[in-house]
Symmetry: C2
Subunit: 500 residues, 2 copies
């Protein structure tokens, strides 16, 4: 049976893939890109996979694999014919050991919410999905830690932890789909990094399967462990190119007893920067998020998704969230801060939400921006770190540069972390607009020693621009590490490291 | 001239080294330890060093090099005849390039306050001291970051930052001597990790010189940068075996406007654990330190250093520190918490210090414990992570095991991080006592999946016990990385990785 399915796949392209054709780029559209020297998938391989995983966990029907081939943004499309859905570490170990010997390329995939084409195949890499690796294994209330399989959905994990007065230290718009293993593999940042720090600090342990199938147990749940090199750090942000993360252990902050959300409108970006600086000083330890949205961006999210904006038209908007242990204290701190900001005319208008439902409503204006941009057609997505002094100038310069050729050019993001999301949209992919943006924006960012990918990673789309943020010596060392850990290069090829 | 100095050194042992003889172990006392296949230092090498650094920065006189050969605990003693004191990255690059070609072994040394023999030579490795790499290069108030050379003393850095309302996110007893580069190289933990997280989270960038002299510039000052593997993480905690850290960039928390210190006495360890759990829940975001000291330990620090203890005799003591942005709120939170603890008879007695001078006095009881233990003679020093449920049992079991053969067996440390400092003292080094402790304590720790070195690192003394906390596969990968980054093994040999 498997043999027939594979034959059919090879002979006829899937009609439903056409749906995305206008916006997705396949490997053929990258003229200099060549398929690596990997084995072609044979029927006997599919049989081996099936013998390891059981028949229901090896997908080869065109309709079944379609969703695994296309990224969430619908900007890139792979050509896999086979998706594997293991349930545990041992199965992943067996699969990788086999693929390594056969030189079959593998694309690990979590919730497939990545924004740089890192989680979908480029050619015909077998997709290794963590969607069935979805067990929470242990919650330790004494040490405030959790151990979970890598495929647990972020929101599901957080909901479970909320029962115990704990929380996951990251949160992002894709929380309903993204997997915790994918978050760790991509070093996801998100909305509360300024309070809870990066995953390099809060991931305590990782279990990963190496390219050759060997299980690497760094599944520590200790806050402190200085016994040798901290190998788990290598996997955080390596986007599945050094190993497949199978379990993670996280340090968990206490769930705040009180959360307040201030939603503000402001006249200028200078005011936005001032509010950030002052909130950091005045709200101190209770500040848990500091986000901004520009006017063009607010227009996009409200119009394209039909959401309502409780404040009137303004040049800029901010969301300032506080999280603390004492509602009275928190409210007092926030009120004093906001009164000062209004009295000094730094903030034009504002509202404070204390009810969770009202907070969720406001957060939608921020969290659903990515979705709203897709409604325009094709989204050129950039995620850069910049010094505050030139932060918004990047948007102004880019807007002028693309001019009328783009539907819009917007700026929003995590000002509290110096992280700007700069997005340009057009009805469909335009090489002309792309050429206006790249490498211009990378050069711009590099000039100020910014990062050309603050939190999204390099994946497929940005790997060849790594030189704008990393030195040649650093890239060379990365390549050596990759070569050492995955000598056949089977793990997520064409990702992270540059082609040359 | 250099030639004569070297000759004299080779022919006559330094008389002042005798002073430590009773307590320091030299390489001859480790029967299975063999000098690596490194070049012997020749006069021409010293001349080359002098030509790179200038004559005043190459020490070869026995009296001058003595302090660099002996660790702070006076438990190990190296035999270097040459100490180099470079001023900048370029000089270190030149030195390492030369040493790598000549296969001269190098021991990087910061403030030499390490507790596992990692910062002193074992045989005749050349010491590369960062003591003149002491410039603070940039403080950025917008992004709250600092860039400094690696030899800046931790306390000096913090004092400078205090002028700007900022602070270094680590603090430890050795702050007056330890270097920030050494802190990073050893992934120092210290007194406030539970609040500000580990250096894996707060180090934003590192510049390091590789074994072959190549400068690796990962000197990012951005909060977020996901462009390729996070190479700087490899250097954090690698104890100078993968490269010499020359500059570091740190993310800085705002300096708290209000600090309170509660000093408590308690009847049992169960009460200590309860106070920790409750402080985490009730003090939440303002809790900045949670330390404990047992009775035996308090006796040692008060008697050996003639310090006074403001509370009466008790089985256990705790220091609970809060740091926040609003003195009234902080005091209110702490008072409610302490009233509850006293009312519920979990705490026997307590005092709260708000004046900095009074706080310093109390902190001395904690910070000077290591020093007080040395007064006894030889200190067998252990630094382990354990689950709270078995945390103090380790001390009780060990105390029973060493019995009257030890001067004392004490427990103290960072209960907030699950980090126990377990120390045994004797008048002089006793192999019998050592054999009672090791490998017993490592086996004990391993049974509970603890770490045999929570924050001190492995250095020279604990490298061969790495297997109690790390899997064979993990150690193998560490060795591969070492081999890749330092093929001649010149950087801090006999450290971190096991002999076999």
């Amino acid at each position: 049976m498997q043999r027939n399915i594979l034959k059919r796949l090879l002979s006829s392209p899937c009609p439903r893939l056409q749906r995305y054709k206008s916006v997705s780029l396949t490997c053929e559209q990258y003229p200099n890109l060549k398929r690596g020297d990997f084995a072609q998938l044979e029927d006997s391989d599919v049989q081996t996979f099936t013998s390891i995983l059981g028949p229901g966990n090896v997908l080869t029907l065109a309709d079944d694999v379609e969703g695994y081939n296309t990224d969430w943004l619908r900007t890139v499309r792979g050509q896999t014919r086979c998706v594997l859905k293991p349930k545990d570490t041992e199965q992943i170990s067996e699969i990788l050991s086999f693929c390594n010997k056969r030189r079959i390329a593998v694309c690990p995939q979590g919730g497939n919410t990545g924004l740089v084409g890192g989680s979908v195949p480029v050619f015909d890499e077998v997709v290794l999905s963590t969607s069935q690796m979805n067990k929470i294994l242990n919650i330790d209330l004494d040490s405030s830690t959790v151990v979970a399989q890598s495929g647990v959905v972020l929101e599901a994990l957080d909901t479970e932890l909320s029962q115990h007065g704990l929380m996951v230290p990251i949160d992002l718009g894709a929380k309903g789909s993204c997997h915790i293993g994918g978050n760790v593999a991509t070093n996801a940042g998100g909305l509360r990094l300024l309070r809870y720090g990066s995953l390099h600090g809060s991931v305590l342990g990782i279990e990963a399967v190496m390219a050759n199938g060997q299980v690497l147990d760094c599944l520590n749940t200790l806050k402190k462990d200085n016994t040798g090199y901290d190998l788990k750090q290598l996997f955080i942000g390596s986007e599945g190119t050094l190993g497949v993360i199978t379990k993670v252990a996280l340090a968990l902050p206490p769930r705040p007893k009180s959360i307040n959300l201030a939603y503000l409108s402001l006249k200028s970006f200078a005011d936005v920067a001032t509010v950030f600086r002052r909130s950091r000083a005045d709200l101190g330890e209770i500040l848990s998020s500091c986000e901004f949205i520009d006017k063009e961006c607010m227009k996009c999210v409200t119009e394209n998704l039909n959401l309502s904006n409780p404040l009137g038209h303004s040049e800029f908007y901010m969301l300032i969230e506080t999280s603390g242990s004492n509602p009275t204290h928190d409210e007092e701190k926030l009120n004093i801060f906001l009164e000062n900001m209004l009295a000094e005319e730094i903030v034009s208008d504002g509202t404070v939400a204390t009810a969770p439902s009202k907070q969720r409503e406001i957060w939608q204006l921020r969290e659903r921006i990515a979705e709203s941009l897709l409604v325009d057609g094709y989204c050129y997505k950039y995620d850069i770190s910049l010094p505050l002094s030139v932060f918004y100038q990047a948007v102004l310069d880019m807007r002028q540069r693309v001019g009328g050729k783009a539907t819009r050019c917007v700026g929003y993001g995590h000002i509290g972390d110096g992280n700007l999301h700069l997005n340009v949209t057009t009805p469909r992919y335009s090489q002309e607009v792309m050429d206006l943006i790249e490498p211009f924006l990378y050069e711009w960012t590099s000039k100020y020693r910014g990062s050309i990918s603050a939190e999204h990673g390099l994946g497929f789309k940005k790997r060849n621009f790594i030189g704008f943020s990393k030195s040649a010596a650093a890239v060379m060392l990365m390549k050596k590490i990759k070569q050492e850990m995955d000598p056949n290069g089977i793990l997520n090829p064409y990702k992270v490291l540059p082609d040359l």
